[in-house]
Amino acid sequence: MMKLQFDLPISSEDLSSCVSCGLCLPHCPTYRVTQEEGSSPRGRIALMQRAHHEGVVDAEFVHFIDSCIQCRGCETACPAGVEFGSMMETTREALTTQTRYVPWWLRLGYRVLGSQGALLAASKLAAILQRLSLIPRSLGLPRIPLIQKRLMSSGTDVWLFTGCVMDAWMRDTHRAVQRVIESTGNAVAFPDKRAVCCGALHVHAGLGPDARRLATRTIEAFPGDNPILVDSAGCGAQLKEYGHLLGSDSARKFSERVFDVHEWLAQRIEDLPQVDLTPPRIAVQDPCHLRHAQRVHEAVYQVLGRYAEPIPVNDDGLCCGAGGAYATFHSQMASDVRDRKVDAIERIDAQEVASANPGCVLHLRSAGIAIRHPLEIVDALIRKGERSAGTA
């Protein structure tokens, strides 16, 4: 196999922080599917160690590195505290800059995410093609709206980050989240179009410079000191990483203002309205970037628990296979990973499923799971409670 020169800029100390005990293996979704070392965190670190040591890589190396979903489930499982996610990001960025790991057409695709105009145009085209039945349902795209109503700021108490795909395709989720926030007596501000995309997918793909450019613009879109709330676990994890990504004081200060919306609501749970309804049983799928990256997934249970009976999906927080753009480019692996999740969900007797990440919602919905954002469920229950109180 042809070997390419490769310079992996990870320190020997970081690479040797893994003692190869293997405790991460069962927490890795791709290892669970393949049972192969190359698809495990321990194996991928061993690959990095070797590439670092020998200064070469080949297609086999790229294959195993590329098959990682970057869910970071291994990080919460690792007793040694190995920062796998950041090592994987560095490896991907090195591959992108030193090899043809990300082809030109894919780079173009990621550029679209960073441009609101291009994204809306592409979405409109997709919406039309959908209505002409020219987009296969198996792709799992939601029904993309043809015409989008604008999100309206109601004040300046907190910011709500809107993002790229979520804003283009799932704006109703933002509206529901806005109503829930407002029900606590706080007004919501939306950023201007400089906050077009958090750059998480770019980091995952190894497009570091693009990610840093998007991060810089995003920070500019949130002046002041007010909290920045995020209703997408993946975006929230990324915004919280800006301090690390840009390495500047202003970025660190920005990251400190970022909260997952459930995290923020859980701190003022008594401000949320009370309803007098029989709480429905809701299965909760913990998005990896809430559970393993941000580590604040408990907040979803607290907020949802005020209105419903949340039941955790009993699979140790294994990834569902969505992984941002992963499901698009590794559809077979993503679908095999999802089968395990669907099986765990179906063992639960619940009315529907909640997931605080748009990627997970779309991926699981395309497998026929009735799933929504937790705050869409909360919003619906609050409104239902108000209606029944009104008629009583």
């Binding site: 196999m1 020997s12 100390e13 040797s16 922080s17 893994c18 003692v19 190869s20 005990c21 293997g22 405790l23 293996l25 069962p26 393949t34 049972q35 192969e36 070392e37 190359g38 194996g43 061993a46 690959l47 070797r50 080949d58 086999e60 190396f61 195993f64 690792c78 007793p79 040694a80 505290g81 190995v82």
Partner: protein, 479 residues
């Protein structure tokens, strides 16, 4: 790392059986060159079979080519048992991970070797049963690996090690035949070949199906955390609890360094200022468990216990165990490498040997971390080090040898549960005479006359005439 390039005829024949599940990619072979120990070998080809027939074909093809082979489970072994020495074919059984049959009437389950230990217990849980051996690596170690190493675990104090929980094994013997060792009856006439196979570390063939015993989940469990200002009081409490007539389900000890690294990972409220803690678990019928708790409290009070914390619920209990079971990996918080010993000493000698372990580590300028199965005297002294330090390996070996010597002098043995593998192989002579080892080798030879099944493991080279595969210790490996 230089791999001997694969014999193309051998590879071709393996591919005809396995297709792309016979691998020889340079990077991928490297991933199967290690297990959880510090040793490294060179696989020639990695095979990923999915059923018994494929394993049989692989073994037959290897024999035809006079190529050694070895089985590998999850690769979490701590003694180098799955490190491929002598350019063998690695038979990774991880894809053979189906629970084939659960037979409640006979209280057994037939499982494939790649089933993970904890997955099996979780699957059995709704039925009210579990698989009793619970190594610290239970979330990832495989039943096949447990059989190979006759694995233990905290709860083996009361329930016994793997050998007591495996009733029958389907094996592909080194000559390529399939045999079932043991059966489902209570008493099997004739020699206990199943008993010989359990713990044979892959030197007698490859297990392809295993009938494991199902243990009923106890109706009541209490988990206690006891802290001590002096590690000697903790160790004395262990002996005193057993002497008081109690056999706890588990009786574990951690010293101060272990507590610190574990707490940094789990945040379970382990008292980081204590010199030692005991984790005591009692199970059974509620009345008996309550009585046991009182006995433990009384005994501990006589040995200057600091505080006694009883886990309030399953979540607290799980968190305490999560800390204990992740201790080895957490050592990386101190140093990037560790060498783990596994000696067993009589309980009454725990204090004496522990003190020697600390003195030995100090004398060799190393850090010793102790986290172990105190109830059955199974020490796990961990020597933490950084392999990048010059000359550190010599010190680690010298200290290791001294620890083993101290344990054996105290009336103990070389290994409790991790196996001998490659890492402890050359220490066998400290425990067994040449005659003992030659006799053991005859047993091995009866199963594997050609010496192809995981060669160069367990018994030191020279104890058999067929140990002749190139160098005894591969590049980058050390014993």
């Amino acid at each position: 790392m230089v791999h001997k390039s694969a014999d193309q005829n051998l590879l071709g024949e393996l591919r005809s059986v396995l297709g792309d599940r016979a691998r020889d990619g340079d990077f991928e072979l490297g991933l199967y060159s290690k297990d959880g120990s510090v040793l490294e070998g060179n696989p020639m080809i990695v095979c990923l079979p999915v059923n018994t027939e494929e394993v049989q074909q692989i073994v037959r093809i290897c024999r035809k080519h006079d190529r050694p082979f070895l089985a590998r489970g999850s690769g979490t072994g701590l003694a180098g048992g799955a490190v491929p020495v002598g350019d063998p074919v690695v038979i990774a059984t991880a894809k053979m991970n189906k629970i084939l049959e659960v037979d409640l009437q006979n209280r057994i389950a037939w499982v494939e070797p790649g089933v993970l230990n904890l997955d099996l217990s979780r699957e059995l849980s709704p039925l009210g049963f579990h698989f009793a051996p619970d190594p610290s690596s239970q979330q990832v170690c495989s039943i096949g690996g447990n059989v190979a190493n006759n694995s233990g675990g905290p709860h083996c104090l009361a329930y016994g090690v793997t050998s007591a929980h495996v009733v029958a094994i389907e094996v592909v013997l080194p000559d390529g035949r399939i045999a079932v060792l043991g059966d489902l009856t209570a008493e099997t006439p004739g020699y206990d070949l199943r008993g010989i196979f359990v713990g044979s570390e892959g030197t007698m063939g490859v297990a392809t199906k295993i009938a494991v015993r199902l243990t009923a989940n106890p109706p009541e469990i209490r988990t206690l955390l006891l802290d001590f200002a002096d590690v000697r009081d903790g160790a004395a409490t262990v002996s005193a609890i057993i002497a008081a007539g109690l056999i706890p389900a588990a009786l574990e000890m951690m010293d101060q360094r272990a507590i610190e690294i574990v707490e940094a990972f789990v945040n379970a409220g382990y008292p980081t200022e204590a010199d030692a803690v005991l984790l005591v678990e009692l199970d059974g019928l509620p009345g008996g468990v309550e009585h046991g708790v009182e006995v433990v409290r009384a005994v501990a009070a006589r040995h200057h216990v600091g505080s006694v914390r009883v886990a309030a619920d399953d979540a607290e209990r799980d968190l305490l165990w999560k800390g204990r079971k992740n201790a080895f990996g957490a050592v990386a918080r101190i140093k990037p490498d560790y060498y783990l010993h596994d000696t067993v000493v009589p309980r009454g000698k725990l204090v004496e040997v522990l003190e020697k372990v600390y003195r030995i580590a100090d004398a060799h300028d190393l850090i010793a971390v102790n986290v172990f199965h105190a109830g059955d005297g199974n020490l796990h002294p961990i020597l933490a080090y950084d392999s990048k330090e010059k000359g550190v390996l010599e010190r680690v070996h010298a200290a290791g040898r001294a620890i083993i010597t101290a344990s054996i002098e105290a009336g103990g043995v070389l290994s409790g549960e991790h196996g001998i593998g490659l890492e402890k192989r050359d220490y066998m002579g400290m425990l067994f005479s040449a005659h003992d080892m030659a006799t053991q080798d005859l047993v091995r030879e009866a199963f594997d006359p050609d010496g192809l099944a995981n060669p160069l493991k367990v018994l030191p080279s020279g104890s058999r005439c067929s140990d002749s595969f190139g160098q005894h210790v591969p590049d980058g490996a050390w014993v």
